[in-house]
Point group: C2
Chain length 465, copies 2
């Protein structure tokens, strides 16, 4: 770690305080730490963070939450009130609590770049540190990477389904509280959404904010036309009118009247939104109404409990929709709701560790993931031991050395551009809504033979599951 | 609002700052506000927050998030940086931004007590305020009440299924980021869980914290027995040993050895945890092993991707489990992931408002919910107009008057005790895992005839949906 980096980090920390999530952990991280402490068990260990399985129909994940996870890990520290709270539990001895006062992360972290498409069982992060530190990171890394990776992946599916129509995040009211709405909005933007309705996410992350008006606005005026006129009075150049409060085709007619009046005054209506009924049929009819009166420039936006499957169906039925607002199912990844990210011991002072049970397999040793390109597209990845020579692009890069970041956070725009470029290099069939065969992870010869050796070794005695 | 209340509130605010979530809203709340502002449309309006539909098999919701929602609503205020951000969007005029500088909530809120069992379409909250204020609360109230109500309801299902075995929240690593883990832990505790693995939730809310150790702990020692001995050395009086890392029955034997050694030293092992295979069969076998050697006091805990259905099945197959740790599916309410809470205009200066579409019905007017008791159990609720006389217990109580709380937050323990007592008064069939007929909401004669009148009125012209 060079001095220049240290200085950069100090500046950054001053400018923008990193959140301390140290106490956001499972109690068993403390009880295990206490037992390791009592038993002087703190040699270096390596853990992998990976996701066991892709949800049905998914071709890949979009690795996300990596930057936050690294921030949380490098910012582990206990305040006095934390130590006092732990002390009040009648669980921990004084010497352990004293030790915890100065506890921090001093190890190394390798991670894939945020926004990287990655498949099941390939590590997103690899942590090497004294066992107590490496173990302690488990919960906070999982809480961070599981959720953000899930939402970026789900959003990328929705974006792919809608293309070339745009997708915006409208999920705030159904998100699982504030953080989910915030980090979720960020994840959907990285994965290709063009904006969010979430004003706070716009302010904090610089994501473009999007919005129209509600049915209640229309119902607050005697007639729909009066409501529309009232709205464009305030927003003469960028209004999107919700046209289905009473009757969608009638609403389109009213929107056309308002659009023509705006034209005369030197302004332009932006478009309309439809939030009910059959969006395919209605959008075609509304498009026709507008085109018939030379309002080709009016955009049509669609909302109504959408997801990637419904959008694919709308597209197949020639919906004339320029942009989708997607809420509940994108911001919660419903019905998936959680992906099976885990954090497993891969190696310690006794050598590589393996888990052999059929459904909960893990791979031993310090590993790297290599991406193989064929005919300009990403063909598959190889999971290999670090010491093996593989001709491919290594995905895990060092981001933390001796407890310090070796580079600054990438910006949101850089991450988004990187993600979309990477996704474009995946074979077309992986970007479909129904993926039969997900992105492939092959096992290197070296890793394969280590697995075989360890399997034989453990199979002679009791199975290590 | 009496002076005494104002003083109490001031003290409370000083002691414990209420979080400002004002900017956590949809852009359209601002655009609608701006249009109302330009059109001088700010007479009083009343909105209801209710949940359209119970998920399949659910008998009722547990209303939750009410206290937070009230805190957020009564703490609406814009900082200078918020106004600057809004100004930078090229959307809003200067006079509107100036108006927003002093914007706050000055209206009244009625709400059911946090922890109240309630059914679909019955308002959890009712807001009456100048239209711009009442409308503005929509997003933050929904984000808060939707999630917390969902998790409390889901957790109560799990708790009911497990009874008399206990349930603890182990969901942190799969929760949808930090807030979901925190507010989720709180919700599960209110709904009957006995503790959480989430240390921060323990510290902030005073929830008992629970935990054992991981498979990686066992794998960090040469043998399981050595791992167990190392662990109880640190926790001689309250250790729970995870016995399925290699072979569950063998693990139970090792736990028994350790328990006997602890007995000789004047200590006691608390119990064991099983995290794989068939928990029903394994727990019976392990119980037998312990009982055979007079270790009847050892408790058996079960974990492994559990939910209310799996727990009901385990119980039906005579599992010998004293406590369950439930993670992913309880903290995310998977596969439900989101419940359809909405916030609808019920009345404004032009009178009661109705929504008539079949699947998106809303009830007009200022309403109250009355609970009817028969033979000591809650029989059904009646949704009635406020001015009607109904013989039942009104559930909506005034919590905010002229923008100020009329009472302090209830404590967590009070809310939990209230919730569990209320649930115990529901008929047995509603507390099952599979509920055919959810808790009933009847419509009062007065409300019924208002609906009929409005329906006739609107059906002659265009339908108001």
């Amino acid at each position: 770690m060079c001095i220049k980096h240290t200085i950069q980090m100090t500046n950054k920390t001053t400018a923008q305080a990193i959140e301390n999530r140290t106490m956001l952990t499972d109690l068993y991280q403390f009880t295990m730490n206490a037992a390791y402490f009592d038993n002087n068990k703190n040699e270096k260990a390596t853990f992998d963070l990976f996701i066991r399985k892709l949800p049905r129909d998914w071709g890949y994940f979009i690795a996300n939450g990596i930057e936050d996870a690294v921030d949380y890990a490098t910012n582990i520290r206990f305040d006095e009130k934390d130590i006092n709270y732990l002390g009040s539990q009648n669980l921990f001895k004084k010497d352990f609590l004293n030790y915890k006062k100065d506890f921090k992360f001093t190890g190394d972290i390798y991670a894939v770049k945020e926004g990287t498409p990655i498949t099941a069982n390939a590590p997103l992060m690899r942590v090497t540190a004294p066992r107590m530190e490496a173990q302690f990171l488990e919960t906070i890394l999982l809480n961070t990477a599981n959720f953000q990776t899930m939402i970026a992946s789900k959003a990328n599916r929705v974006v792919n389904a809608a293309y070339p129509a745009s997708v915006s995040d409208y999920g705030l009211r159904r998100a699982q509280d504030q953080d989910a709405a915030m980090k979720g909005a960020r994840a959907t933007y990285i994965a290709g959404c063009v904006g969010t309705s979430n004003v706070r996410a716009g302010m904090e992350y610089g994501i473009p904010i999007k919005g129209t008006h509600a049915h209640s606005f229309v119902k607050s005026f005697p007639t729909e036309l009066e409501a529309f006129k009232a709205y464009v009075k305030t927003f003469p150049d960028n209004a999107i009118l919700l046209i289905d409060t009473y009757d969608t085709l009638n609403g389109a007619g009213n929107a056309a009247i308002v659009a023509k009046e705006l034209e005369k005054a030197g302004h332009r209506l932006l478009g309309v939104r439809i939030d009910s009924e059959d969006l395919a049929m209605r959008s075609r009819q509304v498009r026709q109404i507008f085109d018939n009166v030379d309002l080709n420039y009016l955009k049509i936006f669609g909302t109504n409990d959408l997801n990637e499957y419904k959008i694919e169906d709308l597209k197949s039925r020639s919906a004339k929709i320029d942009g989708y607002g997607v809420g509940t199912e994108m911001i919660t990844a419903k019905p998936t709701a959680a992906i099976p990210g885990v954090y497993k011991l891969a190696e310690d002072e006794d050598g590589p560790k393996i888990k052999l049970s059929a459904d909960k397999r893990s791979f031993p040793g310090k590993k790297q993931v290599y991406r193989i390109i064929e005919k300009g597209f990403y063909a598959y990845d190889i999971l290999a031991l670090e010491e093996e020579e593989i001709f491919g692009t290594p995905l895990l890069e060092k981001v933390v050395e001796n407890g310090k970041r070796t580079r600054e956070r990438r910006s949101l725009d850089e991450t988004r551009a990187y993600c979309l470029n990477e996704v474009s290099k995946l074979p077309e069939h992986l970007r479909q809504v129904h993926v039969m065969k997900p992105y492939e992870l092959r096992i290197s010869p070296g890793l394969e033979s280590l697995v075989t050796n360890l399997t034989e070794k453990y199979s002679h005695g009791v199975l290590a599951i």
